[in-house]
C-alpha cells in the first residue's frame, strides 16, 4: 500500500504531517511521531513578537533589575545563562534534523520585514527543509481594504522569496474574500504550498473586571468542514501543495480531507491530547479504510470529492445547503 505524498516539492512517506505544536520541541516526542508514521514534521512557530517580548522581559527583569533601593539590588536570580530564543529554535531545528529522517519544516511568525528576513535566513542556514510562514494578521483599519491586506501577504512572500531558496508554505486565515484567487497570486509570487487554515487566539470578555481576557479552546472535528470545502475547491487547480489543518482528530477526518483533495493532513490537538502514538492509530485507520475500499495508493482516491471531480459547482457550494434540506423531504412514494 503506497501512502507516499508529494509535499512542498518533496516526496514524503505518508500524508500525515503533525503541525506546529510543543511536541516538536522535544526530541523524544518528535522521534515517536516519526516512528508512528509522520510524513514530515512542522516545528512550533517562532514568533518574532515573542522573541522580542522575551528579550525585553529578560532584559528588564534579569539583566537590569536594579532600582536604586538600598535593600535590594535585584529581585530574580539571573545567574543561569540560556540560549536566546532564536538560537534555541535553531538548535532545536538542528537537533531535529540530526535525529529524524523525515523532512523538518520550520515555522515563522514575524511582525517586521527585518525580523522576517533575519530569522528566515538563519532558519534556512540551520538546514530546514522548508519554511512555513505563519502569517497572522487581523485587519482593523477601516481604511485598509482587502486588496491592501492581500498585498501584505504577497509582498512578504516576494521579499522572502528573494532571500531564500527553500520551499515556502503559506499558512492562511479563512477570511479572504476570494481565496482561490489569493492562492493563485501566492503561487505566482513563489509559494510552494498553502496550509488551510490558521486558528486564531480569540479574546474573551470578563464581566467582573470589565476587561478582555485570553481564551483558547482545542479544536473539534466539526471545524474541519471549513478547510475541507476550500481544499475541495482548490484541488487540481493549483500547483501548490495543499495542507489541511484544524479539527483533524481521527482517520475518518483525514480520509475526508484526502477525498477533498488535500496533499497533507496536519494534526495537532489530537496528538496533544492522545500523545504522539495517536498518529499511528490514524494511519492504521486510513490503511484499513483503503483496504476495505480497495485503494492501493493515496493518489487513487485523493481529490475524488473535489471541485474538479464534482459534476458541477453546485455539488460543493450552492446546493450543499439544498441537499441538507432535501434530506428532510418526504419520499416521493409517500402520500402527503
Amino acid at each position: 500500500m503506497d501512502l507516499v505524498t508529494r509535499y512542498l516539492g518533496m516526496d514524503i512517506r505518508t500524508p500525515l504531517v503533525p503541525s506546529a505544536s510543543p511536541l516538536a520541541r522535544d526530541l523524544d516526542s518528535a522521534r515517536r511521531l516519526e516512528d508512528a508514521g509522520a510524513g514530515a514534521l512542522i516545528m512550533h512557530s517562532l514568533f518574532e513578537e515573542a522573541v522580542r517580548g522575551e528579550e525585553e522581559g529578560m532584559s528588564r527583569f534579569l539583566h537590569e533589575q536594579e532600582t536604586g533601593f538600598g535593600e535590594a539590588q535585584s529581585f530574580l536570580p539571573a545567574h543561569w545563562d540560556f540560549e536566546h530564543p532564536l538560537d534555541d529554535y535553531l538548535d532545536n531545528l538542528r537537533r531535529l534534523k540530526e535525529a529524524l529522517e523525515i523532512p523538518v519544516v520550520a515555522s515563522l511568525n514575524g511582525v517586521s520585514p527585518g525580523g522576517w528576513i533575519k530569522h528566515a535566513e538563519e532558519i534556512q542556514a540551520a538546514g530546514a527543509d522548508a519554511l512555513e510562514l505563519n502569517v497572522y494578521y487581523v485587519p482593523t483599519d477601516p481604511d485598509e481594504d482587502s486588496a491592501q491586506v492581500e498585498r501584505r501577504y504577497i509582498d512578504l512572500l516576494q521579499l522572502l522569496r528573494g532571500h531564500l531558496n527553500l520551499p515556502i508554505n503559506m499558512k492562511l486565515s479563512p477570511w479572504f474574500s476570494a481565496l482561490p484567487a489569493m492562492v493563485r497570486r501566492l503561487e505566482r509570487a513563489g509559494a510552494s504550498g498553502v496550509a488551510l487554515f490558521n486558528r486564531f487566539y480569540q479574546p474573551d470578555i470578563n464581566i467582573d473586571s470589565l476587561r478582555l481576557q485570553p481564551s483558547l479552546h482545542p479544536s473539534t472535528s466539526g471545524e474541519l468542514l471549513l478547510p475541507m470545502r476550500w481544499i475541495a475547491l482548490l484541488h487540481g487547480r493549483t500547483e501548490l501543495s495543499l495542507g489541511a489543518t484544524s479539527g483533524i482528530h481521527t482517520a475518518t477526518d483525514a480520509i475526508k480531507l484526502l477525498l477533498a483533495g488535500t496533499d497533507v493532513v496536519h494534526l495537532c490537538s489530537a496528538l496533544l491530547v492522545h500523545g504522539p502514538g495517536h498518529l499511528e492509530t490514524v494511519l492504521a485507520g486510513i490503511r484499513e479504510w483503503m483496504d476495505a475500499q480497495g485503494f492501493e495508493s493515496i493518489d487513487e482516491f485523493r481529490g475524488r470529492l473535489s471541485y474538479l471531480a464534482c459534476p458541477d459547482l453546485g455539488e460543493l457550494v450552492r446546493t450543499s445547503y439544498i441537499r441538507i434540506l432535501d434530506s428532510y423531504s418526504f419520499s416521493p412514494g409517500v402520500m402527503t
Binding site: 522581559g57 528588564r60 545567574h79 540560556f82 536566546h84
Partner: protein
C-alpha cells in the same frame, strides 16, 4: 609565599561568601539587609554546582527566620557538618539563644555578620556594631574586618581558628561600608584555604558528631551542684584562642604576604596620642595618622581584629609605651553604661596591667562614639580626636560626626581638613536614577580600571530608601596606592561629577562635590547651545566659580535611537572614560564591549547588539560646552518645602529631604522616635514623565481610578458649586451623577501632578472609552508639561475644598468609598505597587480610628522611612496611629494594642457607671450602648464623648479626671496588623496563629507578594510552585501554603482572599466585613510586585489573570453567616477559566524557568494546573456543605 594571587574586583559580602562557601557543607540562611547577598551568593554557587574544598556542593537551606537558621546550624554542627550562616542586626539578635548553646558546646563554626544598627527609636539598615556588641556574652569569639581584602582574609582566619580552637566565631564587618564596597583585592585560592585549614582539626570535629554509632548525650539540664563548674570548664579553650588566631594569621601571612595581628599598630613608633578602634573606620584613622606622623606628630593607631576573647597581653604588645593618651572609639551605644564596650575592655586591660606592674604608666583613656548607622567618619573627625587627646582637659564619652547641642558631647571638626592620601587619587561622583544602570556601569568601570591598569580602585554606592524614582550616588576612587578612604567623597574633592538625570540638578547640590578645575558631565536632551541656559543658577555659579569644564551628552537620545529605551549606562560609561582618560580609549571601549557581552550572555544577544551600537556612536554625542564668559542667568532652585509648612517641617523635615540631615543637631530630633504625620505631601518628587488627564464629559464617575492608585495621587471629591469662581484655570469638575448626592453639586477627579509616579494604573482601569475615538479614555496619560503645570494650582485648590460628610456616603459602593479622604498618600513605594492600594483603602474607610502595627518589610519602609511619612491626618486632626515593632512579632504587637485599648475602654465604661449619678443615667447608658457600626454611629459617639469631656472638666472628682483621660476610648478603635507574606507565612507565623486563636477583635492584612520583596525577592512559603525566586533558582519545588484554609479551620476567624484588580467590589466588601467582625479577621491580599518580573503597569491584568487561572481564588469566610444558618464560606470567583500557564507564563518568575529548566518548568506547570483544579474543587465542596443549625439535626439525618 604562594603564586601571584588572582586580583578580583568584588564587594565585602562576596568576599566573605567566597570563603564561607568553599569551607563549609551546610549553610542555613535567611534574608536580612545588608547580609542577604552573602546567602544569595552561596545559594547561587550551590545551584550552579560549585563544590567546596572537599568536592561536595554545600547544601544551602533557607529557614523561616534567623532563629530557625540558628537552630539549623546548631543541629548541623552537632551532627558533624562544617556549617555557616550569614546575618545582621535583628537577625543576629534572634540567633542569640542558640549562640550561647553553640559556644557552650564548644562547636566550631563561623557566623559572618555584615554588622548593622539595631532597631531602637527607629530601624536603620546601615552599619554599626550594635548587633555584634549584643553578642558579647554568648561565648563566641569575635573577629573584625575593616576592608574588603580583610573580609576575605579574616573569613579564612576565623574558619581555621574555630576548627583549631573549637570556639565558634562571629566574623563581622561594617554593613554597607564594607559589605557593599567594591574593591580590587587579592583572592584566596582553594589551595590557600587548604594550606591554612588544619585537616586534623576537621577530622576531630567530625569525630565529635552526634551519632548512634558512638552515642553521647549533650544538652543536659544541670543543677546547682554541677552547672557552675561546668561553665568554668571552657576556660582553657578561651585562654588558648588568641595564640591560635595569631598562629593562623601568621600562616596566612607567610603564604600571602598580608600579615595581621590581633591588635595591629600603625603610626609613629613613639606615639604619645593613639586612637584604637575596629572596623572600616580604621581606614580613615590610618590616613590621618599617616598624614600627621609625616608632619612629625607623635600619633598612632591600633586596629582591633580579635575582640573576643579580649587579649590584654596582645593589646599591651601593640600599644607604644610612649602613649600618654588613648582614645577608644566605639561604633555602638550602650545607654546608661559607664562607657561603651570596647572602651571598657581597653580601660580594664590597661588598669589591670598597671596594677599587675606590666604597665609602668597608665595613659589617659578617652571613650567616644562614632559612625552609628553609617554616619560619616572622616579624617577631619579623626583629627579632632587627636586634637582632643592633646587638650588639657579632654572630654570623656564624646561623640563624633554629629552636633550634640543637647548633651554637649560632640567634638567639633574642621570640615576643610584633608589628608595626603587624597592626593594622587582621582575621585568621581555620579548621580544616577536607580533604574538607569548607573551603579552597575560604575561597578564595571571599577573592574575595568582594576584589571586594565595598575591602579587600585574603590567604589561605594549610596542607595535610596525610596523605591520609585530612586536616586543613587556612586563614589569612585582610583589611584596608584591602595585606597583606604572609608568615607564618601567630600565637598570640593571630586575631579569628575556626572549627572545622569537632569532633574536632579534642581534637587541636589552636586557641584559642591567638585574641586576647582574639575569636570562636570551632564546627560541632557538640550543641545550643546541650550544646555547652559537650562542649568539652575546655583549650578551655573559653581561652574564659573570653580572653573569647571562642562560636558553634555544626549544619552537618552542615543539610547532611544539604538533601541535601549532609557538605559544609558554604557553610553555614560564610555563618556566617563573618554573624559577622565585613565586608560587608552580604544581599550576602554573594548573592555566595555566585553563587559556587555559578558553581562547579557547568550540570552541577550539582541541587547548586546544594541549596546554595541550605542557604544559605537556614544562619543559622537559628547560635547564640551565653552563656558567662558557665559552669563549666570538660570532660575534659583525652589525651596524644599513651602513657607507655610510647620516649623518642624521647615526646620527638620526640609533639611532631611534636601540631603542635609547630617547638619541637624541632636536637639532637633524627637527623643522617643515620635514623628508627625502627613509629611510625604511636602516632598513633591515630580518623577512622572506622564500624568493622567481627566475628561469630565466622558467620565461616568465610577471611582475605579482612585481605588487602584498606589500613591493616592488621583482623588475624588464632591462639593457644592459655590466658590468655584475662584478655581484656577486647570481645575476640572463636572455635575455629580446620581441621586445619592445633593442636586447641583459637582465632582472632581483630580491628579496630584508632582506626587503621581506615572504608573498608568488609573488609565488601565478606566472602563470608559470615547466612542468616536476608542484610543481616548475618560483618563489618559499625557506628557504635556503645560497641563502638568496647570494641575499644580488645581491640586492645591482641590485640597482646599471641604471633605464630603462621611455620614452621607455608602462605603460599600466604590464611587462613594473613593470620596472618602485617603490618610495614606505619596509613599515611596514602587510605581504601580500592588500593596499600597489596600492600605490606602483601609485608611479611607477606617483611618480616623485606626491603630496600625506594621511588620518590617516593604510596607514599613514606604510606610515609615524618613525623611517623610505617608500616613496623614484628616481636617479634624485624626488619622492612623502607626508603629513598626519588628519583623517577627507584628501580630502580637497588634494584639498588645488591642488589649491596651480594650483595657482603657473598660476603665472608661466602669468610670462612667461610677459617675452615672453625676452625669445622668440616660446619658451614661447612651454612651455605653452606642451603636458604632457605621459612620453616623461613630460620629454621634464622638459628639457624646466631646460633650462628656467638657462636662467632666467641671466635675471635681478623681474619677472624673481619670475618665477624662480615657473617655476617647468610648469611641471604637480599629486595630490593624499589616505586613507581608515573609512575616505572615514565615517568621511571624507562630504569632499570627496565636493571635488568630485569641478571638480578639483585630484585623490582619497580609500583603502577599509571594516573596520577601523588601530584601530583594527571596522565597517565602507563599511563593507558588515553580516560581523562580532567590533561594529557588530552579523554581520553588512545592506549592504555596494555604493560609486561608488554615485560618478558616479555627471557625471563628473572618477570612478573605482579595485581589482588587480582579474584583474591586469584593475587596471593598471584604474590608468592611473584616473590620466590622468582632473577632480576628484575616485579609489575604494579592499584590503583584516588581519581583514577579512583570511591569507594574500590568498590575491589574496580572491580578485578573491570577484569579482567572485559579491561582488566587477570591473568597470570604464570615463566621457570622453560621448564625443565620448559612455556610460561612462564600466564593467570589468562578472555577479556573483560563489555563494556569496562560497566567504564569506572563510573568518572568515562571517563564524564565521554561528557559533555564524546561523539563522542570513543564512538570511544575502541569502539577500547578492539577493543584488549582483540586483546590477549586475542595473550596466548592466546602462552600456547598450543609450547615447544622443549633439544636437541629443535620439535613438528611
Amino acid at each position: 609565599m604562594s603564586d601571584t594571587p588572582t586580583l578580583v574586583t568584588l564587594d565585602g559580602n562576596q568576599a566573605a561568601a567566597h570563603v564561607a562557601h568553599l569551607c563549609n557543607e551546610a549553610i542555613a540562611i535567611y534574608p536580612i539587609t545588608p547580609a542577604s547577598p552573602m546567602g544569595e551568593w552561596a545559594d547561587e554557587w550551590s545551584s550552579l554546582g560549585r563544590t567546596n574544598l572537599w568536592g561536595t556542593v554545600p547544601e544551602v537551606v533557607e529557614m523561616q527566620s534567623e532563629g530557625g537558621a540558628a537552630g539549623a546550624i546548631h543541629g548541623a554542627i552537632q551532627a558533624g557538618a562544617l556549617t555557616t550562616s550569614f546575618t545582621a542586626s535583628q537577625g543576629l539578635l534572634l540567633m542569640i539563644p542558640n549562640l550561647y548553646k553553640i559556644a557552650g558546646e564548644l562547636s566550631p563554626l563561623v557566623l559572618h555578620v555584615a554588622s548593622r544598627s539595631l532597631a531602637v527609636q527607629a530601624l536603620s539598615i546601615f552599619g554599626d556594631h550594635s548587633d555584634v556588641m549584643a553578642c558579647r556574652g554568648t561565648g563566641f569569639a569575635m573577629l573584625c574586618s575593616g576592608s574588603v581584602q580583610e573580609v576575605m582574609d579574616l573569613a579564612l582566619i576565623a574558619q581555621a581558628a574555630t576548627l583549631e580552637g573549637r570556639v565558634p566565631f562571629i566574623h563581622f564587618f561594617d554593613g554597607f561600608r564594607t559589605s557593599h564596597e567594591v574593591a580590587k583585592i587579592a583572592e584566596l585560592s582553594a589551595d590557600d584555604m587548604r594550606a591554612v585549614l588544619d585537616a586534623e582539626a576537621i577530622a576531630a570535629h567530625r569525630a565529635r558528631a552526634l551519632t548512634p554509632d558512638r552515642p553521647v548525650v549533650r544538652g543536659t539540664s544541670q543543677n546547682p551542684d554541677a552547672y557552675f563548674q561546668g561553665r568554668e570548664t571552657v576556660n582553657p579553650w578561651y585562654r588558648a584562642l588568641p595564640d591560635i588566631v595569631q598562629g593562623v594569621m601568621d600562616r596566612l601571612g607567610a603564604r600571602t604576604g598580608r600579615r595581621y595581628r590581633l591588635f595591629d599598630y600603625q603610626g609613629h613608633p613613639e606615639a604619645e596620642r593613639v586612637v584604637l578602634l575596629m572596623g572600616s573606620g580604621s581606614g580613615a584613622v590610618a590616613e590621618t595618622v599617616d598624614h600627621l606622623a609625616a608632619r612629625g606628630e607623635r600619633v598612632g593607631m591600633i586596629r582591633v581584629r580579635l575582640y573576643r576573647p579580649f587579649s590584654s597581653t596582645h593589646l599591651l604588645q601593640a600599644l607604644p609605651r610612649t602613649t600618654r593618651a588613648l582614645a577608644v572609639l566605639d561604633r555602638t551605644k550602650e545607654p546608661g553604661a559607664g562607657g561603651e564596650p570596647l572602651f571598657k575592655d581597653v580601660t580594664t586591660a590597661l588598669a589591670q596591667a598597671f596594677m599587675d606592674g606590666r604597665l609602668a604608666q597608665l595613659p589617659r583613656v578617652l571613650g567616644g562614639r562614632y559612625g552609628l548607622s553609617s554616619k560619616e567618619f572622616t579624617p577631619a573627625m579623626v583629627k579632632a580626636v587627636f586634637d582632643e587627646l592633646a587638650a588639657p582637659r579632654p572630654r570623656q564619652g564624646f561623640t563624633l560626626g554629629i552636633h550634640d547641642d543637647l548633651s554637649g558631647s560632640s567634638l567639633d571638626w574642621d570640615p576643610t581638613f584633608r589628608v595626603d592620601a587624597n592626593r594622587g587619587v582621582t575621585a568621581c561622583v555620579f548621580y544616577g536614577l536607580g533604574s538607569d544602570g548607573t551603579v552597575s556601569a560604575n561597578k564595571n568601570s571599577i573592574k575595568i580600571i582594576g584589571e586594565a591598569t595598575a591602579h587600585h580602585a574603590q567604589g561605594y554606592f549610596q542607595y535610596d530608601s525610596k523605591k520609585a524614582g530612586a536616586v543613587t550616588v556612586s563614589h569612585l576612587r582610583f589611584g596608584a596606592e591602595p585606597i583606604q578612604s572609608t568615607y564618601l567623597i567630600g565637598d570640593g574633592d571630586a575631579d569628575f561629577v556626572a549627572c545622569h538625570q537632569e532633574v536632579f540638578l534642581g534637587r541636589y547640590d552636586m557641584l559642591a562635590k567638585a574641586r576647582a578645575g574639575g569636570v562636570f558631565l551632564l546627560n541632557t536632551q538640550a543641545g550643546v547651545d541650550e544646555a547652559w541656559g537650562r542649568l539652575p543658577r546655583e549650578v551655573q555659579e559653581q561652574i564659573q566659580a570653580k572653573g569647571l569644564r562642562f560636558f553634555v551628552v544626549d544619552a537618552y537620545g542615543i539610547a532611544s535611537d539604538k533601541g535601549l529605551g532609557r538605559r544609558i549606562n554604557t553610553i555614560m560609561q564610555l563618556c566617563f572614560f573618554a573624559i577622565i582618560g585613565i586608560l587608552d580609549l580604544a581599550e576602554a571601549r573594548a573592555r566595555i564591549e566585553e563587559a556587555v557581552r559578558e553581562t547579557y550572555g547568550r540570552k541577550g544577544r539582541a541587547l548586546v547588539e544594541r549596546n554595541l551600537a550605542a557604544i559605537a556612536t556614544a562619543l559622537e554625542g559628547l560635547h564640551e560646552v565653552d563656558v567662558a564668559g557665559l552669563p549666570v542667568t538660570g532660575h534659583r532652585r525652589r525651596p524644599v518645602v513651602p513657607a507655610e509648612a510647620s516649623a518642624f517641617v521647615r526646620e527638620v523635615t526640609a533639611p532631611l529631604i534636601a540631603g542635609r540631615g547630617d547638619d541637624l543637631p541632636v536637639s532637633r530630633f524627637p527623643a522617643d522616635g515620635t514623628w508627625p504625620l502627613g509629611t510625604a505631601a511636602y516632598e513633591k518628587r515630580d518623577i512622572a514623565l506622564e500624568i493622567p488627564r481627566w475628561e469630565p464629559e466622558l467620565c461616568t464617575q465610577c471611582g475605579k481610578c482612585p481605588l487602584v492608585c498606589p500613591h493616592a495621587a488621583i482623588r475624588a471629591k464632591v462639593f457644592p458649586s459655590e466658590g468655584l469662581e475662584k478655581a484656577p484655570a486647570g481645575f476640572m469638575h463636572a455635575p455629580v451623577r446620581g441621586r445619592d448626592f445633593p442636586a447641583g453639586w459637582r465632582i472632581a477627579y483630580q491628579v496630584a501632578p508632582e506626587d503621581c509616579t506615572g504608573c498608568g494604573l488609573c488609565v488601565a482601569v478606566c472602563p470608559i472609552r470615547d466612542r468616536r475615538d476608542p484610543g481616548r479614555k475618560a483618563l489618559n496619560l499625557t506628557p504635556d508639561r503645560a497641563f502638568h503645570d496647570r494641575q499644580k494650582p488645581a491640586w492645591s485648590f482641590f485640597l482646599g475644598l471641604p471633605e464630603y460628610d462621611r455620614r452621607a456616603l455608602q462605603p460599600s459602593k466604590i464611587k462613594h468609598a473613593m470620596i472618602l479622604q485617603p490618610l495614606f498618600e505619596f509613599s515611596g513605594a514602587c510605581s504601580g505597587c500592588g500593596e499600597t492600594p489596600y492600605i490606602r483603602l483601609a485608611t479611607q474607610l477606617f483611618g480616623d480610628r485606626m491603630v496600625i502595627a506594621n511588620a518590617t518589610g516593604c510596607s514599613s519602609i514606604y510606610g515609615g522611612n524618613l525623611p517623610t511619612t505617608p500616613y496623614a491626618t484628616n481636617p479634624d486632626g485624626r488619622g492612623p496611629a502607626w508603629n513598626n515593632s519588628l519583623f517577627e512579632d507584628n501580630a502580637e504587637f497588634a494584639l498588645g494594642m488591642r488589649i491596651a485599648i480594650d483595657q482603657n475602654r473598660r476603665q472608661a465604661e466602669d468610670l462612667l457607671r461610677t459617675l452615672s449619678g453625676a452625669l445622668g443615667g440616660e446619658r451614661v447608658q447612651a454612651l455605653l450602648e452606642a451603636a458604632q457600626d457605621d459612620e453616623a454611629g461613630i460620629h454621634e459617639q464622638r459628639h457624646r464623648v466631646t460633650a462628656l469631656k467638657r462636662d467632666l472638666a467641671g466635675l471635681d472628682r478623681p474619677e472624673a479626671r481619670r475618665l477624662g483621660g480615657v473617655a476617647d476610648y468610648l469611641v471604637r478603635k480599629s486595630v490593624w496588623s499589616i505586613g507581608g507574606d515573609g512575616w505572615a507565612y514565615d517568621i511571624g507565623y507562630g504569632g499570627l496563629d496565636h493571635v488568630l486563636a485569641s478571638g480578639r477583635d483585630l484585623n490582619i492584612l497580609v500583603l502577599d507578594t509571594e516573596v520577601y520583596s523588601n530584601t530583594g525577592g527571596q522565597t517565602s512559603k507563599a511563593t507558588p510552585l515553580g516560581a523562580v525566586a532567590k533561594f529557588s533558582a530552579a523554581g520553588k519545588p512545592r506549592e504555596k501554603k494555604d493560609l486561608a484554609l488554615m485560618a478558616m479551620a479555627y471557625g471563628d476567624v473572618y477570612v478573605a482572599r482579595v485581589a482588587f484588580g480582579a474584583k474591586d467590589v469584593q475587596t471593598l466588601r471584604a474590608f468592611l466585613e473584616a473590620e466590622s467582625y468582632p473577632g480576628p479577621s484575616l485579609i489575604l491580599a494579592y499584590c503583584p510586585c516588581i519581583a514577579h518580573g512583570v511591569d507594574l503597569s500590568n498590575n491589574l491584568r496580572q491580578q485578573d489573570l491570577a484569579v482567572a487561572a485559579g491561582h488566587w481564588g477570591l473568597l470570604r469566610y464570615d463566621p457570622r453567616r453560621l448564625a443565620r444558618g448559612e455556610n460561612p464560606l462564600h466564593l467570589d470567583s468562578k472555577d479556573p477559566a483560563i489555563p494556569y500557564r496562560d497566567w504564569a507564563l506572563t510573568e518572568t518568575r515562571f517563564s524564565v524557568l521554561t528557559r533555564t529548566h524546561p523539563d522542570l518548568a513543564e512538570r511544575y506547570l502541569r502539577q500547578a494546573q492539577a493543584d488549582v483544579e483540586s483546590q477549586s474543587f475542595l473550596y466548592r465542596q466546602l462552600a456547598s456543605l450543609a450547615v447544622k443549625k443549633a439544636g437541629t439535626p443535620p439535613e438528611g439525618a
